[in-house]
């Protein structure tokens, strides 16, 4: 039925049904789509990323750290938010381990270039998003202890990528082992050959003394 003003009445009916329906309608479970944040948390996509962290193997962060302080990421980082100092041993000789590893996440732009450039599968992107502090500076600079997270954690937040990384590391380790084995075999073979040769020479030397 159409009469002047009927459109308004129809529209009012639509909103009224929606208001009442939002309280009583259970058919559409996802009708109220608002996420009640602190209680309900968003299920993050596996590839979602925020800031980098450092992966370590095993249980001891210091022992299992993969980073070798090669400083490639420090050089590659576009906003230059990474700061690394190489560790030294008792004699003052630099060793392949970071003494200081800082990331200023107030500067970091989450570009993931550090991850792409790391040859040791050591730096990876985290998906934390509740990072805040009472100060603009100190609380937002993450130091090595805060940055170090276990491989298990990495598996927890992004299983596919972590599995691929582990497979790569494993493959590299196997390759290395194979190479080492081959080298060892080569060395052994060479040794054996040398030994054989030495034995032969010895035999040749002793041969004349041997009666035919």
């Amino acid at each position: 039925m159409n009469f002047p003003g009927s459109g308004i009445i129809k529209g009012m009916a639509v909103t009224a049904l929606n208001i009442v329906g939002s309280y009583f309608d259970r058919a559409h479970a996802k009708r109220l789509i608002t996420e009640q944040y602190p209680e309900e948390r968003p299920k993050l996509a596996e590839a979602s990323r925020s800031f980098p962290f450092l992966v370590f193997d095993g249980d001891d962060p210091e022992k299992g750290i993969r980073c070798v302080a090669c400083k490639i990421c420090e050089k590659e980082c576009p906003p230059q938010c990474i700061y690394i100092v190489k560790d030294t041993d008792a004699n003052g000789k630099p060793i392949m381990r970071p003494k200081v590893f800082d990331i200023d996440i107030s500067v970091c732009m989450g570009c993931q270039i550090c991850v792409e450039s790391c040859p040791f599968e050591s730096i990876r992107m985290d998906n934390i998003y509740e990072v805040s502090g009472y100060d603009r500076f100190a609380p937002l600079v993450l130091h090595k202890p805060q940055l170090l997270k276990s491989n298990a954690y990495y598996h927890g937040i992004r299983p596919t990528e972590a599995a691929a990384t582990d497979a790569r590391i494993e493959a590299a380790r196997l390759r290395k082992e194979a190479a080492a084995k081959a080298a060892a075999a080569k060395v052994a073979a060479a040794k054996a050959a040398a030994a054989a040769k030495a034995a032969g020479e010895k035999a040749a030397e002793t041969k004349p003394t041997q009666p035919e």
Binding site: N2, F3, G7, L17, I19
Partner: protein, 426 residues
């Protein structure tokens, strides 16, 4: 008899008052005066009349102010919750149970914000504008009868007084807009004043219709004229008559516009002119503007309830055990929440549409209701019109015919080509 005995005596009397809720507020005032007189006797002086009058007036003022400020606070929550529900959201539900303490949080936020005054502003006028805005708005509820015998100022020209004080709003809006020295502010103020002046005409005319039939300008008299029932149980509210219904709708539209509510929120249309005359106001001054708007809205709604919805009268005889002041506030909330409902539904007018609507439809229509009310009054011989078929048919015919004619002339309806499908509402 010492002070504590007196206090105890009156506290007991006060508790005794709760046996009859209907007369509770009136009896409270009487008891207060009695208490003060006795207290004076205790101190050895006879309490003069003016002192009693002053104290009871102050108590009355505080009671009305607190009531309307609580209404404002609750309205700000319920409005947001209803709006959210219409959009399939939850709305505020964090502060307190069901988010009911949200206004407290809002108040703290508003109070602690910086109070900015533009450098080029006219400082005095900029400062005075919120005061000029809020003072008349807080005065408006005084003229409304909240229940039988419950009116703070019983004027014989109450309705005129209501509109006269409401006129102060325009002045405040102008002051705010001009003093801010900002083009958006002045544009918003011009829009607001144009809108208020245009919509005051149908508003006042439709109130006049009621005054014509009730034969009085006093809100109490009008509410009393709507007491009683016809056909045994149907309420004698003016909204039940053809002319009253039309006038009620006109008054409702006028009230929406006067309180700057959607779809008439052009003065602060945020997508066009930021916040209109409120642009340069922040912190507590902004809160005061906001408060004045909401209290003014409740006051106009209260007038609507008084004029058309039977004031404090119960709708049916079997519901008369509910105190009259409860009925007033129930109706007040119903009208206020219906305004939220309108707000969820209708988009904002364009300024030319708004002006056309006021001058080409509302104003002629309100004159027609005047005619229909006169027809009702004369065909039905005054108060007997409720049972007169001639009165009903004459006024209904006038209203309906002119509505259809005016409606078809004013609104060229355009139909959308496709049938819309709604996800949840069908």
């Amino acid at each position: 008899m010492n002070f504590f005995a007196l206090l105890k005596d009156f506290l007991l009397q006060f508790l005794g008052l709760f046996k009859n809720l209907e007369t509770l507020p009136v009896e409270c005032m009487r008891l207060l005066r009695e208490f003060l007189t006795k207290l004076g006797e205790l101190c050895g002086i006879t309490m003069p009349q003016w002192a009693l009058d002053t104290v009871s007036a102050l108590v009355l003022i505080v009671a009305i102010l607190v009531t309307f400020l609580v209404l404002f606070a609750l309205m700000s929550v319920f409005e947001r919750k209803l709006l959210a529900r219409a959009q399939n959201r939850y709305g505020p539900n964090r502060v307190g149970p069901f988010g009911l303490f949200q206004p407290v949080a809002d108040g703290i936020k508003m109070l602690t914000k910086e109070d900015l005054v533009p450098r080029a502003a006219d400082k005095v006028v900029h400062y005075l504008a919120p005061i000029v805005m809020v003072a008349p708005a807080l005065m408006l509820p005084v003229f409304l009868p909240f229940g039988r015998g419950m009116v703070a100022v019983d004027l014989s020209v109450g309705i005129l007084a209501f509109f006269a004080l409401g006129a102060g709003t325009e002045l405040a809006v102008f002051m705010a807009g001009w003093a801010s020295n900002n083009k958006y502010s002045i544009l918003g103020a011009m829009r607001a004043i144009a809108q208020m002046i245009s919509y005051e005409l149908p508003l006042v005319t439709s109130a006049l219709v009621v005054a014509l039939v009730a034969g009085t300008l006093s809100p109490t008299g009008i509410a009393e004229a709507q007491s009683g029932y016809f056909c045994g149980f149907l309420p004698k509210w003016f909204v039940c008559t053809p002319w009253g219904f039309a006038a009620c709708v006109l008054f409702y539209i006028g009230a929406l516009s006067e309180s700057n509510r959607c779809p008439f929120d052009l003065p602060e249309g945020e997508s066009e002119i930021i916040a209109g005359h409120l642009t340069e106001y922040s912190g507590f001054k902004y809160a005061i503007f906001f408060m004045a708007e909401y209290v003014g809205m409740f006051a106009v709604n209260g007038l609507l309830v008084t004029l058309f919805l039977g004031g404090y009268n119960a709708p049916f005889p079997f519901l008369e055990w509910v105190p009259t002041w409860c009925w007033f506030f129930i109706k007040l909330w119903a009208v206020a929440l219906s305004m939220v409902w309108v707000r969820t539904t209708l988009p904002r007018f364009r300024i030319d549409q708004m002006m056309q609507f006021a001058w080409k439809f509302l104003l002629p229509m309100s004159f027609v209701t005047l005619l229909a009310a006169a027809a009702w009054y004369y065909a039905g011989q005054g108060p007997k019109a409720w049972m007169s078929p001639a009165a009903w048919s004459a006024s209904a015919l006038i209203v309906l015919l002119s509505y259809l004619l005016l409606g078809t002339f004013c609104f060229t309806r355009r139909h959308s080509a496709t049938n819309r499908r709604y996800l949840f509402s069908e």
